[in-house]
Every structure is written in structure tokens, then in C-alpha cells.
Point group: D2
Chain length 305, copies 4
């Protein structure tokens, strides 16, 4: 295989996340050919230096093809479908699937790819388009280790880190655990922040402190302004996090692992939906915590640290 910097790259799926990710490769002067079902979503990338394929199957001549689509069904269709990436005589050397799909679908697509001699990496990514654009997202990757070693420089061009966790679909499991942990942190943070606020310590004061300690996270630092402004504009909705928690509790059931706190968060997400926060950002767990505390929340006009 050629050096990663001279390889031809394909990018399949240029929705908001996909476009943000592809832009980081194009911006680093890689040779990227893009395709999207709705073609005009590729215009910005072309303006930035990418080429565009007329037909999905043309990406099959690229060395490496990244796939970022919305659903498991989409992944199956664009890779193994009748007009999909593997539907013609050519095939890339490697497919990097960045979508957070279920284990079964990933294993199925991997199987079809393997039969064509195509390596397959499951590489779900954390973060939202803004985080990706700022270089702050993270990959967790599973599949053949040699394939991972080969594309690691590309992944680290897109994100700030890429960690390999196994030969199979482990990356998807790890991503689910990550999202459970995210929900746990949001509810934990909501409880202690509302407690501090109702006890007389302003929200920005408490969060500034927490953001100065060994328990600080980049994520909380980044969302502190939203917590101060009570801005629940969705980056990821309560309903979507509920879906991830259901996936996670399903995995926990299969593994026979009790999850007392995570189970509690899932019920609180359901309560938040019942109280009207279905389509709000999941950070609105903070709003429910305020309401349950009988605390009328206001925007905290101080800026975070």
C-alpha cells in the first residue's frame, strides 16, 4: 500500500458530520473524492478542493473509502447494495465505517467486504460537527490492526485521537459505553450544580470551580456556557440519548452486568421526555433537575471561565 499521504481517498456521505470530517482531510491537502445522495451537499467540499463522484460506485477505485451515513440500513445499502460501493468490478483496499451502527450490521457488512478482500474498520467518532471542525473529536476503532496502523495518520488528521480496541466490532461497544458515561456525567453534574445553586452558590461560580479541579472534563468546559444560558438547542436530543441508553442497557443485559446508575439515568431521560424535553438537547436533564428541586432557573449572565 502506498504512503497514506499519497493515497486516493473516497468519502461517502457528506451530511453535517460527514462534511465536517471530510473537510479536515481536504484541508490537509489529501486527494479526496466525495459522494452524497443529495449532491449539493458536496458543493462546499468541492469548493475546498475535493473532487466529486457522479456515481457512488466510482469511489471503489479509491485506496481508502470513509463512510459516514445515518443508519444501519444506509450503511448496508451504500456498501453492499445493488448500486453500492462493492457492486462493480473494483473495490477499495479499506473501508472505514464512521457511523455508530449496531454490532450485527457492522459484522454483516464486514463479512461481505472481507469476501471481496476489502479490509473493514468500525470507527465510530465522538463529538458534533463543531467539535469535529475544531479538531476535537475522537475515534475508537476496531478491525484488523494492520489496517488501523495504516490509516491512523489519516484518522489523527480528522480527530485529536484514534484508539484501537480490538479485531472485531469492539469499537461500537466502546462507543456505547462512552455514551452511557456521557449521560451519567450530565445527570451527576446536574444534581450537584443545582444543589450548589439552590444552596446559594451561583452556577458560574460552581462550574468555574469544578472546571479547575481534577474532575474537570473538556466536555463540561465546552458545555458550561450552555448550562449558564440554559440553552437547550439540540446537539444531541434527549430522545437520541435515550436510544443510546437503550442500546447500552441491552448490551448490559447480554453481558449480565447490573447498571444501577445508568438504569436510573434512562428513567430520568424518560421523565425528561414526559416533561417535554424530547427534542431538546440532552443537557436539558439540568432543567428537569431544577424543576424537581422546585428551583426556578434563570440565565446566569456571568461567562464561564
Amino acid at each position: 500500500m502506498t504512503n497514506s499521504s499519497s493515497r486516493s481517498l473516497g468519502w461517502l456521505g457528506t451530511g453535517r458530520m460527514g462534511a465536517a470530517m471530510a473537510h479536515r482531510l481536504v484541508g490537509a491537502n489529501h486527494d479526496v473524492t466525495v459522494w452524497n445522495r443529495t449532491k449539493d451537499k458536496t458543493d462546499d467540499l468541492v469548493a475546498a478542493g475535493a473532487r466529486v463522484a457522479d456515481a457512488l460506485v466510482q469511489l471503489a477505485t479509491c485506496d481508502v473509502v470513509f463512510v459516514m451515513v445515518a443508519t444501519p440500513a444506509d450503511l448496508e445499502e451504500v456498501v453492499t447494495g445493488a448500486a453500492g460501493l462493492l457492486s462493480g468490478p473494483n473495490a477499495p483496499g479499506l473501508i472505514v465505517s464512521c457511523s455508530s451502527v449496531d454490532v450485527a450490521t457492522s459484522a454483516k457488512v464486514r463479512g461481505v467486504a472481507s469476501e471481496r478482500g476489502v479490509a473493514f474498520l468500525a470507527a465510530p467518532v465522538s463529538g458534533n460537527p463543531h467539535v469535529v471542525a475544531a479538531g476535537g473529536s475522537s475515534f475508537v476503532v476496531s478491525g484488523p490492526q494492520a489496517a488501523f496502523d495504516d490509516v491512523a495518520p489519516l484518522l489523527e488528521t480528522i480527530a485529536r485521537s484514534a484508539v484501537w480496541v480490538g479485531e472485531g466490532e469492539e469499537a461500537l461497544l466502546v462507543k456505547i459505553c462512552h455514551n452511557l458515561y456521557l449521560g451519567l456525567i450530565v445527570q451527576s453534574l446536574s444534581e450537584v450544580t443545582v444543589l450548589a445553586e439552590k444552596s446559594g452558590v451561583a452556577r458560574h461560580v460552581f462550574l468555574d470551580f469544578l472546571n479547575s479541579t481534577g474532575l474537570a472534563t473538556d466536555w463540561v468546559r465546552r458545555r458550561t456556557p450552555d448550562l449558564l444560558a440554559l440553552d437547550w438547542t439540540p446537539t444531541f436530543t434527549t430522545e437520541l440519548l435515550r436510544k443510546d441508553f437503550e442500546l447500552g442497557m441491552g448490551v448490559a443485559r447480554s453481558a449480565e452486568v447490573p447498571m444501577p446508575l445508568a438504569a436510573g439515568v434512562l428513567q430520568l431521560l424518560q421523565s425528561a421526555i414526559g416533561h417535554g424535553y424530547r427534542d431538546s438537547d440532552f443537557l436539558s436533564l439540568f432543567a428537569l433537575q431544577g424543576a424537581s428541586s422546585g428551583l426556578e432557573l434563570h440565565r446566569d449572565v456571568a461567562t464561564g471561565e
Copy 2:
């Protein structure tokens, strides 16, 4: 008041935490006079350049006196007791109380100090002696803001940060919220890490990933080797964290704030005690999570990142 670098400093209480904190001042060439009930616990500090007082009351001639004692009763005794810091004709300009005591005791001692014209800062500190020695601890401080501004450089010599949160005892409340958050994170981490491990992802692989994401914390990074080695040597015991959670739930009751997850962690701490982890580090919540999952835990010989 003189410049902080030329002021005389007193240090009252050189147990493990107190000694580690005082060493950072001595190491920065401050003029420090120390006192401890058991005098030989001051020997190392003297060897490092500190002076030692024969009687506690001699510290009253220092400009600033730091107090780091074990219990609320100790704080009362060493400051306001018959042979305490304020028992003679002299008094320092400022007392910085670094102990995590209850609000009522802090307010009482502050009141006595104020009557003597002595400013009083409640300045509980996070971290253990190792963290303090490495400069990684954090102060949260409340009391007169001018007094805080005055000693902030000294606090930042001892710790990596010092955040002022109010004119009264707010710092103690914030410290309690911090400790609740710590327990919440440990249980949350235990749930997802055991889930990953029982599902086939090695502990060090999962923790390395988590430590690479936007949810990483310095605290978890620092404790990762202990989680891999199943090392429950106490830095802070399960029983002590239960005490902090009881304080926290008491504060929550006063404020009428429901704490669904924190209440769950308190019950799990109680279960951990029932299962024999009373005197283990509270990180042993991980061991209980493993046992409840029917997972036989082993040392993970890989090193954390």
C-alpha cells in the same frame, strides 16, 4: 499588609496532608513556622527549612496562619481553645482554614476570629498527599474577598488552583458537592468499565480510550493504574466517602433538592461496606460492581497510558 512573599507564615497541623501542603511553601522559600501536637511530625519540615514553634500560641505573631487539622472539634480547639491560637495577646491578620469541616463549626470559629479582628478563610482542599506534593490539588475558598485576593499567590504556590466562591462558608458546601461528584464519577466509571470488560474489551484498552476523549479527567487518568492493578490501598476510604455523602444528602435535604443518582451511590457505598470494603479505597466500588456482575476481576498487567 506586606507583600505575600515577605510575610511570616504559620502552619498549624502537620499530619500527612498538612505536611505535604506546608512543604510546598517551604520549598518556595517562604518564611514558615510550624506547629503540631506530636512534635516529631514537624522534623521533615524543619529539615527543609521551616522553623518550629514550641507552643501553638507562638504562631499568633505570624501574618497568616494556615490550619490543617482532622476534625471540627480540633479546629475549634486549636483556634479558639484555652491554649489555642487566639488565647494570647497576639493574633495573626488572617487564618486560612484548610480542613473540610461542617458549616456550623466554620461559622462559629469565623465569628470568634472576627471579634478579634482576624480575617478567616474557609479553604478546603481537594486531593491526597501525593497529589498535593505534585502540585495537583485545588483550593475552593470563601470568606472576605480582599483576604482571598491577598493570599491567592500563596494558595497557588500550594495548589494548582484556588477559586473564591463567596463571603461566608460557601467553600465547604462546594467541597461537599465536589465530593458527591467524585463518588458519582467513580460509580459511573465502574459501571461502564465492567460492562466493556465483561463484553470483551480489556480494561486498559477501554480506560485508555476514555482517557483520550473529551470526558477524560485528570483524576481518572491518575487512578487508572490502580483500577488496572485492583489496588484498593486507601487514599480515602469507602467509609469516609460515605460520611461525605451523608453530609451531602443532608445539605440536599436542607435545600430540598432531590438527588436520585447520588442517593443511589450512597446506598452502593453502604453495600460496599456490607461486602467488606469499609477500609478500602472508595475506588473499590469497582470491585463491588465486578462482583455484582459475576465477573472475576484480575489485575490487568498492561499499563495505563
Copy 3:
């Protein structure tokens, strides 16, 4: 001691509960002398055949004195206070304390009584005035077993049962456990009933079924009309049940017993208070469960069985 049917009985405290209880003794033709701080609350009892004492201390000549007052401080005052039951030269043979007070107060009053040679029974009672009037309440009793055996017929005249549980203050502990169990059942019932209702089974249909099974309780049967009518007129407020749960969790802490579900109910009671149900009957946990489920509750006009 004389046969219970011919003994003189004193009744101290004729509030709503006390009056309902005393009426059952008067109605059974016992010789009852009553006293109450607000004398006109004894009028109905006098009309029914009771005598009234001008001064509290006059009850000291009765063989057995029942005490039903509101708070621990009241119990101390009416028994051991300067103008209390034991303040004169006479003393009854037995005091039956029906108030749900804390263990320490009960032990203290028992101690004073014992020094005067007066037997003391802690005999908290379940139920509300309506239940008492209908003969449906229950006593749990602790103190000298001989004293219990002696007054058991009187207790069974007042209530449908009287169970002896120990020589000391065990009855108060058992009462607290009972009240925890009551709160647990109300929340459990709320969860499954709202689930059935939102899934299409009318509330009265589901409750009729539950009331026909081996899990039926008299208590749920009795409250079914209130659940159908969404009638939260207080028999016992959410705030009062929160107090009992706090007592219970305190006992659990002393005994080092984790209470995962009870801890959850306490947080839900706190949430109910936050959502405005402080002074409603604690059955309003059902209303909070409905709101959290996004279910608009209506009166179910069908009658319970």
C-alpha cells in the same frame, strides 16, 4: 391489677386521632376520663359517656393512662413536665404511649416512669381517624411483656390487632419500617398503574384486578377510590412521609443497611415536593408518576370494586 374491663382508664390527648381512639373505649362502656389542652375537644367524648378531668394531673389516679400527643416534646411535657401526669403524688400503674415519637424520647420518658414504678408501653398506631373509627387500625407495642398482656384486650378494643415486638423501643422502629413499606408500595403501585393506564387499561380495571389477587392489600383497596378520583386531600402529607423516610434512612444508616428502593422513594418524595405536592396526600406520588410519563390524568368515573 384489676380486670381490664373494670379498670379506670385515662386518656390524655383528644386531637383527631386521640379522640377517634378514645371513642372506641367509651363506646365499649369502659370507664374513661379524658383530658386535652383545648378542653372543648373533649366535648364529643363527654357526650358519649366519658368523664373529663379539670387538670392533667388528675389522670394520675387512673389505673391505665393512654397518651396520644403530636410531638416528642409534647410527650415529655405531658408525662414528665412540671404540670405533667407524674408531677403529683399519684401515678397510674401503666402508661400506654400511642404517639410515633423518636426512640430517644421514648426511652427517656420510659426511664422517668420506671423510676416512679410506672410501666410504660410504646404503642404507635397505624391508620388515620377514619380507619380508627372503623376499627381497622393496628398497634405495634414494645415494653414489659406482662404489661402488654394485661392491656391487650383494651388495645384490641381500639384496633383490629396489637402485636408485641420487644421489651424496649422496638415498636417505634417497627412503625418506621412499616411507614417505609407504605411509601414503597405507593410508588410501586403508581408505576404499574400508570403503565397499565397509558398502555390502554383503564385505571379502575387494573386496580380491580390487583385488588383481586394475592398482592391485594386492605390499604390499597381503601385508597382505590382516591386514586380513581385523583383525590389528594391529605390523610398524611407528602412532607410528613418525607419526614418518616428521613427517620427511616437514619435508622438504616445506624444499622448500616443499604436501602436502594427506599432511597429512591425518598428522592421521589422530594421531587413531588419540588413539583408542588408538599401539602397533598402522599398518594400524590401517583400524580407525579403521571406527569413524568407525559400522561394527562383524569378522574376515572368508574367506581372501584
Copy 4:
């Protein structure tokens, strides 16, 4: 349709539960023809007066056929399969399906039956074979109300009650809610009983009291000897109750109803499995509660009430 007492009855499935139920009809002198895959399991019923069918399809000439099989797949096979009840030219007027199957399977079999003009009642039953034999079980029934009214006397011969809850599959939903409630009560009871016991009130004393109050249930009364003897011989295993809780939480998810306590019980069931109680009676939640409390449990030799 003929009077119920003179109708011919078929009984399909004579495992432990089915046999106990059929015995109650035979014992009431009904004309019952039985069939079972393993024929010798019908011997006792034949000895008691039942007839036995050589082939399943022969039951199709009966007026009413009761079906009590283990799984949804069994129900489909014995009713709609190639050699099933509806595979020949005859068909009964009514099928009463007593198995606790999922809603989808029940609806599917009902549909096939309806096309043949056969009424179908979903009639899951509570209790175990001992309870059934003693006449203490309960039916919850859904399907055509006329069909229910018609067979209600037969159902009340088998069980102590039969409650109709809807025209469709509502009975299955209600049964799931019932089983959730059962698990909630067992954990609630375990918490308060262990609390009382560790605080010094013997288990039999506490349970005797609880069994005398308005919160008493027949179910707890019946299981009190097992709690005293720590007898976890399975009537229904922890693993089976976990399955019911998963079904229940799935229904709650569909209905978008948060179930904070039920979610907690599911995690505790999972913990009980992790601690080795998978195949024990689910009453062993009490044993886990004891272990988590650091309480060494012993048989309580006193008899329950």
C-alpha cells in the same frame, strides 16, 4: 352454547401448572378430555376421571379448549400448527389460552382462530401449582366479553377470581404489570425486614406484625415461612423474574413511562444473578439484601403466624 356445566372441555398441556388447573375442573365433575405431548403426564388426571385424547386434533370437537403451554412458539404450534388444534375439519367454540405469552403471539393466534370462527380469550393465571391446587390463583382475561361471561364460572372453578380487562390482549399487559408489582414488593419487603432484623427485631416478629396490618398481602403471608427458613427452593426463579422485568421495561419503553423503582429492581435481580442466585427462587432478593447489609442471615426457627 350449552350451559357451562354440561359442556365438553378440552385441556391441552398438562405440565405442572396445567395439570393442577385441569384437576380442579375434573374434581368439580366436568367432562374433561386432556392431551399432552408426553402422554404419561396425563395419567393422574385420567385416574381422577378425565378422558385422554390420542391426538391433539381430537380436542377440536370439545366446546371449550383450555391451552396451557410453556412458550409462545408452543402456543402457535399447538393451535395453528400443521398438527394443531385447528388443523382438522372441527373447531371448538372457544379457546382459553392460559399461557403468559407476548402480545404479538397472542394477537396472531387470536387472528387465526377468529378466521375459523373460534373465539379466543387470553387468560394468564397467577400463582404456582400449589396455589392453584388450593384454589388460590387468579385469572386476568381479555377477549370478547360475551365469551368471558360464558366461561367465567369455569374460570372461577379453577381460580378464586377471574377479572375481564379488555377486548384484545390487555390481559397479558396486566399480567406483566402484576409481575412487576410482585418483584417490587419482594425487594421492598426485603429492605424493611432486613432493616428491622439488623436493628434487633426478629424476622418472625416483624413479619407477624406486617401480616397483621393493612399492608398485609396473602402472598407475603404465604411466603413468610420461606423467608423465616431462608428457603429459596424455586417456585419462580430469579432468572425468570428478570425476564418478566425485561418484558415489563419493554412495555414501559413503548408507552414512554419511566419506572424508577422497577428499573432499580431489575438491576438488583441482575446483581442477584451475579452473586449466584440465578436458579434460586426470586425471594432470594432477601438473601442479597442481607449480604449487602453485612448481616449473616440464619433460619428464624419461630413459625410465622
